[in-house]
Structures are given as C-alpha cells and as structure tokens.
Amino acid sequence: MSALASHTIPAEERRPAFSRLVTVELRKMVDTRSGFWLPIGVTAITLITVIISALVHHGHEATLAHLFRNSLMPSSFLLPVLGILLVCGEWTQRTTLATFTLIPDRGRVLSAKLAASLVFSVAAFVVCLAFSAVFAELVGNAPGGAGGISVAILGQGLLFMMTAMMIGVAFGAAILVSAPGIVLYLLLPTVWNALAGAIHSLESIGNWLALGNTWSDLPQQTLSATQWAQVGTTLCVWLVLPLAIGWYRFRTRDVN
C-alpha cells in the first residue's frame, strides 16, 4: 500500500459522476439473491401473461395493442414494489451506512435511484413490447398484423411504466421501511376505493385522484385533455406528494 502523504483534499477533486451513481444503483438492484430473481420472475410472469392472452383471444382479437395492454399488468403491479425495495432495502439491510459514507449528498443518492428506476422501467417496457409483438405476429391475424398499435398508446404505456416505478420509489423514500412501505402502497388505493364506494361525493372526484382510474387507463386508450389533467392530479397525490415527503426524510433521517 502507498504511503499516506497528503492529509489534504486536492482542490480539483470531483464528486463521483452522477452516471456512475446510476450505474451502481442498477447493479445493486440485480446483484443480490432476491434482486437477481425478481426481474427474472417479472419477465417470466409477463411472458406467461402474453401467451395466455394470445391463446385466449386467438385470432383477430389478439392484436398487438391488446397483447401489449395485457403484458403490462404484471409489471404495473411489481414495478412499484421493486421501486419501494430499491429505497427501503438499503435502510432495512442498513447498507445506507456504506452508501452515505461514500456519497454523503443523499439527494444525489435518491436522484440516482429515481434515474435507475426510469432505466429499469424502460427496459421492462421494451420486454413487454417485444413479447407482445412476437405473439401478435405468431398468433394474431388482424388486418395490419403486428402494426396495429398507435404511437400514442405506446407513449402512454411507457409513461405508465415509468410513473409506476417512480411511485414505488417515492413511497419507499417516504416510509423507508420495506414491509410497511409495500403494505401501505397496496392498502391506500384500496382504502380510497372503499371510501369512494361508501361516500358518494368521493366517487365523482375519483377520476382525479384514484390510482385505479384514469392513470391506469394510460395503456388502454388515447387520453383526452381532461383525462390528461386527471392523470396530472392523480400523480400529484401519489407521486409528487410522497416524493416530497421522501425527499425530506431520506436526506435528513439519522442512519441507525
């Protein structure tokens, strides 16, 4: 080992590049036992979903748009969970001790996790689209074949995937503990739906606030201006708000 000469910090020293933080976050997502099997599991379930919907809707029903819509279902459920684990895993396994002593600017760490989740959800989108295209080509006999999907639906589907995983990251940062994070993420929309069912006045604003309404229609139909506004308000409640809380907690909480 070298002699420890300097005892000063060189003025030209730079922080590790953000791209490196993102690369390491992506690597950390898949280099553990559970992290390795989860994406493989999601891919397998997606494949099975596409095969089943291709078989069930054999013939002209099995359009690319149809298969694509169904292929997103497993990820729409699992990407938020992965997002939660991406943040909470570190706090639960206490690897924050190592991460934050290497990157003390925790805002950069959380930003890198958000960026990594975007990369991951784009990859998931590509996988879903690829499976759908293959089986629409193999099974479908609709006029136009595999080409039967609009750019708008593809774009909305991509936005759906990206926001789904970011919502998970936001929830994770706000709660910081894996199990309660996942439970709360799954429970809150259900509680909302129950409330909306019981209280009539809540039902009418459901499209503006509930995750299960307009937002989950993103891969289904081309949205109108009003529906885009509804997606916006829904994301404010489920993404922006928890992310704001998470941004504060992630950066200021003492590490144990």
Binding site: M1, S2, A3, L4, A5, S6, H7, T8, I9, E13, R14, R15, P16, R20, L21, T23, V24, R27, K28, D31, T32, R33, S34, G35, G89, Q93, R94, T95, T96, L97, A98, F100, T101, L102, I103, P104, D105, T252, D254, V255
Partner: protein
C-alpha cells in the same frame, strides 16, 4: 486530522452526546472508549454525516465530512460490520463501492487478500459470513479508497485472538505510515494495546482524555498480598505510602514493587504476591470514570493477567 467541536446530540430532553470535543492527529491511533450506550457510535456517526448533531460540528482533514467531494478516498469508515446486504456476495459488496469511489477491481482483490478473505469466502454471500469475517470485509471496505483517516466502531467485535493481533498490526502500520485512526471499544484491554491516546466517554460526556501515562500519571502502583496485610498496611503508611484494597482482597500500594518489598522486609511480613499494577491503575480509572456494571468482570481478570510476580520472602 479529525476534529470534533462540542458535538451534542439530543433526543428530546435526553442528551445522548453532550459537548464532546477531541482531536486526532496524523500518525496516531486514538481509542474511543466507553461502556455500551455511552454515545460512542452516535459521536462517530456525527463525524461521518450519518447523524446530524443538535449542536456543534466536526471536520475531517479540515472539512465537514459532507463537504468532501469523494470522501471514500480520504476517510475509511466502518460503523457496523453487520450492516451489509445478506444476499450480496463479499467481493460484489466491495466491487460496487469500488465503482462508486472510482478504484479498480484489482484494488478489490488486493484488499480481500489483505484482510485474509480467500476466493471461496469472497464468493460467498455475506449472510453466510461469521461476525469475524464480516469484520474483515468491513475493514477491507474501509481501506478500499486508500484513505488517510480510519473511523472504526468496535472493529475488534467478533474477532478471535489471532484476528485481534492481525488488526492491531494493521492499524499500527496504518498509523506508522502517517494515517489517523479513531477506533471505539467498550473494552479497555482491546484498545490499550493499539491506541496511543485514549478518549474515555461516559454518559455522553468526555470523562478523560490523554495518553496512557497522562491518564494514570507516572505514579507506580504495586499489587501485594502478604501473611499479615494489617501489619504491612501500617508499615507502608509509616513510610507515607498510600494503600488501598483491590476487589479481590489484595493491597494496592502507591510505590514500586522494590519499595514495597523493602518495607515488608523491615516490618518482618512474609509476602505472598508482589507485582506492578500499572495496568490495573488504568483499568481502575476506566472503571471509576464509567461506573459501568459490564466493565466489572474485565476489571478483575485484567488485574490478574498483568505481570504479577509471586515470591515469598524468607
């Protein structure tokens, strides 16, 4: 260079750490000593930006930790060896950090070799590691960026005697090359062999600080047993030598063994045990300062294993 200035951490009304100031110079090993719950970990976490002080501040190499652009290149930190992802392999744990720091994979292998984790161990998942192996992995992690400073919380935890000896050599060598080491422990005998200086913390406050000699003074201490302790005690007092009793019934005299031997000879008292008890003095000081129940058993055992010379006069 590590400097803590009036670090204070409060949880509600309770102060976990109160007005803690100390500094560690290059080329030295500082032992941060105190019973469990005294505030050692909280203080170390505040130094590394992991916990936010209620008041006070600290600098490492002249800067607050959080303002060092690439801190892993300057400060090696091991707060808790158990805090690693159980499902990640040992080498991978180091490799991801190496990537962040911007050091090569060759450095990872070099550190694994240095801490004695072979290929088989490095490819195991950390969940299968013993505490001693985790401790070694943690040390490798701290050394990865070739830092000038090491901050280690209870690094000897879980190490066997051979491991402790290895760690002692490693840290002494690190300091000899000009590095600064701050390590904590709740057991005096773990640190007194490594540390040049001791900072003793108790109840969140610094109870004493200094080199071993500064802490116990250069007062010689002798542990003695005799056939007639009562007569020996009065004889020693007649020579103006302070005498007290140890926990196990021996006498502790503030004089050298030679002086005590001569007094015993002149008083005609047969000695049964005679030995220098300077280490016991430090142990006693630590015990008194910290007043901790868990220090008591070590107190007695450390007294015994220090060069006690048994001899019988006449």
């Amino acid at each position: 260079m590590i400097e803590a200035n009036s670090l204070t951490k409060r949880y509600g009304a309770r102060a976990a750490v109160q007005d803690v100031s100390f500094s560690c110079a290059p080329g030295t090993v500082t032992g941060f000593l105190g019973p469990n719950g005294a505030g050692k970990s909280t203080t170390l976490k505040m130094l590394c930006g992991l916990a936010h002080p209620t008041s006070g501040n600290s600098t490492l190499l002249g800067r607050p930790f959080t303002e060092i652009p690439n801190p892993g290149r300057h400060v090696g930190v091991l707060i808790d060896a158990s805090a690693a992802h159980a499902g990640r392999r040992g080498r991978e744990t180091l490799a991801t950090s190496a990537k962040l720091l911007g050091v090569s994979d060759a450095r990872v292998d070099e550190m694994l070799e240095l801490v004695g984790l072979d290929d088989a161990a490095a490819t195991k998942r950390v969940g299968q590691y013993s505490l001693g192996m985790r401790q070694r992995l943690g040390i490798a992690h701290a050394l990865l960026g070739d830092p000038e400073l090491l901050i280690l919380d209870e690094p000897a935890n879980g190490l066997d005697p051979e491991g402790m000896r290895w760690m002692r050599g490693l840290l002494r060598d690190f300091a000899a090359r000009g590095g600064t080491v701050l390590l904590s422990s709740h057991l005096l005998h773990e640190v007194e062999a490594i540390a040049d200086r001791l900072v003793i913390i108790s109840g969140g406050k610094i109870a004493a600080e200094g080199t071993r000699d500064e802490l116990i003074g250069d007062q010689a201490m002798t542990r003695v047993r005799s056939a007639d302790d009562h007569a020996l005690r009065s004889a020693l007092r007649s020579f103006a030598i302070e005498v007290s009793a140890t926990d196990d019934g021996a006498l502790l005299a503030e004089a050298t063994p030679e002086q005590v031997g001569e007094v015993a000879l002149s008083a005609g008292v047969a000695l049964r045990e005679l030995g220098s008890a300077r280490a016991g003095g430090l142990e006693r000081l630590f015990f008194e300062l910290t007043q901790s129940a868990d220090a008591a058993p070590d107190h007695a055992s450390a007294m015994e294993d220090h060069s006690t010379l048994q001899e019988t006069v006449r």
